[in-house]
């Protein structure tokens, strides 16, 4: 299961594109911060920015990767073989999504590392323990989100379009680089129901202490963030489970799996 995913992910042609946008976006935000910091914005803003970049790296690979691992199946005509495999589709896809997200984490660390070296950002985490916990849970949450997204892709090749066009909106909506509070009010519900938004908030809280994403909008704390994220994540898993069952039946019935 993981091996088949490896075939696809190990190819630099697929991995590198996922890291470029997060990297450039992070660089630009670091340049912004440095140029505005005549009044000394300080290390925490820089750290928050590189962390945001790292999270974009994970996000990009999750969203783009989970879409394309299935798109890859379509290309190669192995979609049917995957569907015909004895294990339920959801486990196969979950394996791939987890793997992609894991590659995303590595991507994230690369962005983080370059950003930190270039701009000499310190690693002073406020609460390393909580930081690690939030990071792991956010990883799971992002995977569950990717899993849910991939149902679209099993059904139709249009899924690739949806997922590819989601990349930058997702960076914006989940507050990777700047506070969600800046968004127009009608966009806020969207970012609230995306689980990783809360995780990103929790990670930044554990790292630099300030309530970053929502600002004054929702004065929540670390554990409320985690709780919100867990609820969302469980909901994604449940929804994915239901969707996959339906999708599998529909796909087999309509034969839409064959059109590449």
């Amino acid at each position: 299961m993981v091996l088949s995913a490896k075939n696809f992910v190990a190819d630099p042609q697929f991995v590198i594109p996922c890291i470029i946008a997060p990297f450039i976006f992070t660089m630009v935000s670091l340049f912004f911060i440095v140029s505005s910091s005549s009044n000394n914005v300080g290390a925490s803003a820089l750290l928050a920015a590189v962390l945001g970049g790292g999270l974009m790296g994970v996000w990009g690979t999750t969203v783009y990767g989970s879409a394309n691992s299935i798109g890859f199946d379509r290309w190669n005509g192995t979609m049917e073989a995957t569907l015909a495999a004895p294990s339920p589709l959801i486990w196969i896809v979950l394996g791939r999504v987890l793997w992609n997200t894991f590659i995303g984490v590595i991507n994230g660390f690369i962005v983080l590392g370059i950003g930190m070296t270039w701009f000499r950002v310190g690693v002073g985490l406020l609460n390393p323990g909580l930081f690690v916990l939030a990071t792991i849970l956010t990883y799971v949450s992002m995977s569950s989100f990717g899993l849910m997204l991939s149902t679209v892709y099993v059904l139709s090749r249009k899924g690739g379009f949806i997922e590819n066009s989601m990349e930058i909106p997702v960076y914006i909506a989940t507050g990777t680089s700047f506070a969600v509070a800046l968004l127009p009010f009608y966009a806020l519900p969207i970012s609230f129901i995306i689980g990783p938004t809360w995780g990103i908030e929790a990670i930044k809280r554990a790292a630099v202490g300030t309530a970053y994403a929502y600002g004054p909008l929702l004065p929540t704390g670390y554990w409320t963030d985690i709780a919100f994220m867990l609820v969302a994540t469980l909901a994604y898993f449940a929804l994915s489970f239901i969707l996959f069952q339906r999708v599998e039946t529909i796909a087999k019935k309509n034969g839409t799996i064959e059109e590449y």
Binding site: P17, A21, V28, F31, K158, F161, I168, I172
Partner: protein, 288 residues
Amino acid sequence: MTVATEEEKQPEKTLAEKETLAKKVALFYRVFSGSVLFGRKGTILWDSWEMWIMQIFITPPAEMAFFFLLAIAVYHDLTQAQFTVIGNAVQSMSFAAVFAVANITSQDKWQGTLQTLIVTPANRMALFIGRAMFQIFMSALITAAAFIYADFVFGINFAHANYLALGIAIVLTSVMMISFGLLISSIGLFMRTAMIVANIFLFLTMLVSGVNFPVQALPLWLQPVGWAIPMTYGVLAARGAIMGASVLSLGTILLKELIDGITVLFVGYFLMKGFERLARKSGRLEEY
């Protein structure tokens, strides 16, 4: 422009093999016009309506919004934020003008048509620019759409804008940016990493071309990279045009862009010739 450099090395030429200049021009034009027509039809990239929607209606405003909001968050200043909006509006052409152009060769590689193209006697410059013409059109279209978002979504003040100068800046930059598409395509003849380079180029200009902050803010060693890319001048010209600068007063910037673009085009062309020769030597033409 000569049709083939190889030809010059021929020890002796019979009369029949010699081509008059007029015939060469006619040949160049046939390859070019044939490629223009084929550029739209033969390119898979713009075949799906989703791609049109994504590249015109989703990606440009999303990228503009990202940097707009980022600037607001960091600077708490609308002028700074609007600075990025104009830059990113011009930058949105990268997909069509560079990525899509590089993708033409890459597509030829994986559908196996590259070999059949290479064995034709067609002039590479005519072939390449002809095929890229449709992408130039798309590039200008996407950028024009992006400026509409700049006006209606991000509140850029167009009251003093010189539309002629803005139009010229957009079209010129669209044309000149394909030089990098050619450059990446040349790399693609020999190396499989071309699409990675194309992907990098899709976003690189956001950092080095004065799109989000002036080139002068870059570290010194990175500034020449910015000035080597025609878009850097295009962004400057577009900002000037929106403030009301005339074509004449933007003349120096536009001329620099022209010279830069043509230089890169020739570098790409000779690189393509060189890589073609290298590929013939190593036998790596159809690998990817």
